[in-house]
């Protein structure tokens, strides 16, 4: 059991900054996120896009903002459970909460700050008939152990870096045959990666089917063939042990909806007049995941919400302790040993 003062669900920019503001009040934090890296949307969706509305910073790439936030919170030594989404919240008899992740890791604290943004990132799934039937039986959206594809016939769909990177890897002596299917002639992936795929195709290591898409999947208990519609070649049937549709990730509110919180239009209702508390005492919601009259989904608003919220969390943990607002300019940042 991991024990801390505030469990932060969501390691996006707002979740990260919460660690800083909590740290100034000597509160320790542990962050949980379904993504394997911190940064949330900033890291997963648009790391190379500039942000212009962080006060005092005229322009910063989303990925750099995450790096800077990680530096800013380092003195407060936050814990991380990454690549493992929070699934369940239980309340204990003595007013603590236990948050359990998908893999079963348990975290205990008096307070929870949900900074879950748009929710949990899940794979984008193509609308192909019977897709669910073959999930785990040949259809995989994430590659956890590439060894299981050794000697197999693999079909990959997608035009982004993930699709191309795995096509390169599996076609280089792992799988028996790799077919990469993409609906266009151009790719979203990095040009070097595209060139590498073209080279592997001309060497006969990788089969490229462009201007084509998967229309149907078949098999008995397990996937065995894939029907493809190609602009140039018409209908093609390919024998396949596995189909890897790698179309990136999309956020979903997911388990947050099951935590007994008041939800309005895919967001958690909070009390913005006081401390961004939800209808469950000790559970707060900050950043894009919350809603209240006049809500703006902006990083800078989330930073404000985090700052107000930790004051309330402090009072819950230390009801009798005096607390005064201290300026970092006067006191500096005194991290944890």
């Amino acid at each position: 059991m991991i024990e801390t003062d505030i469990i932060i669900i969501g390691a996006g920019p707002v979740g990260l900054f919460t660690v800083f503001e909590a740290g100034l009040l000597k509160l320790r934090c542990h962050l949980i996120d379904g993504l394997p890296q911190p940064g949330g949307q900033c890291a997963e969706i648009y790391p190379k896009k500039p942000i212009y509305d962080i006060p005092g910073i005229p322009e910063i790439l989303a990925g750099d903002l995450v790096d800077d936030l990680m530096k800013q919170i380092a003195p407060f030594k936050p814990g991380f459970t990454l690549g493992d989404p929070a699934i369940e919240i239980q309340e204990t008899e003595n007013n603590h909460y236990i948050v359990t992740t998908k893999s079963g890791i348990k975290h205990k604290a008096r307070n929870i700050a949900i900074a879950g943004g748009l929710g949990v990132f899940v794979p984008r799934k193509p609308p192909v008939p019977d897709l669910k039937k073959y999930e785990g039986k040949g259809v995989e959206y994430m590659i956890k152990d590439p060894e299981i594809y050794r000697g197999k016939n693999i079909v990959i769909s997608g035009g982004g870096d993930s699709a191309l990177d795995w096509a390169h890897f599996l076609a280089d002596g792992v799988a028996n045959q790799v077919t990469l299917i993409h609906r266009s002639q151009s790719f979203r992936a990095h040009p070097d990666s595209v060139q590498k795929a073209m080279n592997m195709a001309s060497e006969g290591k990788l089969k490229l089917l462009l201007d084509a898409e998967v229309k149907a999947i078949n098999g008995n208990d397990h996937l065995s063939e894939i029907k493809i519609k190609s602009k140039t070649e018409g209908e093609i049937t390919v024998t396949a042990d596995n189909w890897l549709p790698l179309f990136g990730l999309t956020p979903k509110l997911g388990p947050i909806a099951n935590w007994g919180l008041k939800i309005e239009k895919n967001a958690i209702q909070v009390d913005n007049a006081t401390d961004y508390s939800t209808n469950r005492e000790g559970i707060y919601a900050i950043g894009d995941v919350n809603t209240y009259p006049g809500k703006l989904k902006l990083i800078l608003c989330g930073f404000h919400e985090a700052t107000i919220m930790v004051q309330s969390a402090f009072k819950r943990i230390y009801p009798d302790k005096k607390n005064v607002l201290k300026y970092t300019t006067v006191n500096g940042v005194n991290g944890f040993d």
Partner: protein, 115 residues
């Protein structure tokens, strides 16, 4: 007011919504739909990175020329037709007065509950 144009959006149930759209607020079609609380997610906020604002253009107002990023995203989206555009990439200008579009099916919401 001359800065207001009229746009029709057909939702996924086939209902037509007549919208009055300002041309002086630097808005795009995705944002317009959201401001009228039509079911458009706009997940990525307008960066042509999610395709949740895909629409079909039903009139000849908008050139069906897509930006490079928009094309790349549509290449990996579903239910894409020749008249598909991403709403976030269509800026509201006076030329669009009388535009009619239809919302593309939203597949993400059906796709799963298995986090």
């Amino acid at each position: 007011m001359e800065t207001i144009i009229n746009i029709t959006v057909v939702d996924r149930e086939g209902t037509e919504h007549k919208l009055e759209a300002p041309t002086d607020m630097n808005m795009n079609m995705m944002e317009l739909c959201k401001s009228y609380e039509l079911p458009v997610a706009g997940t990525c906020g307008g960066m042509a990175m999610c395709a949740s604002c895909q629409i079909y253009v039903l009139t000849n107002h908008v050139p069906l020329i897509r930006s490079e990023d928009e094309q790349a995203m549509l290449d990996e989206a579903w239910h894409v037709e020749d008249n598909s555009r991403l709403g976030c990439q269509i800026q509201l200008t006076k030329k669009l007065d009388g535009l009619k579009v239809e919302l593309a099916p939203y597949v993400e919401e059906e796709s799963d509950d298995d986090w």
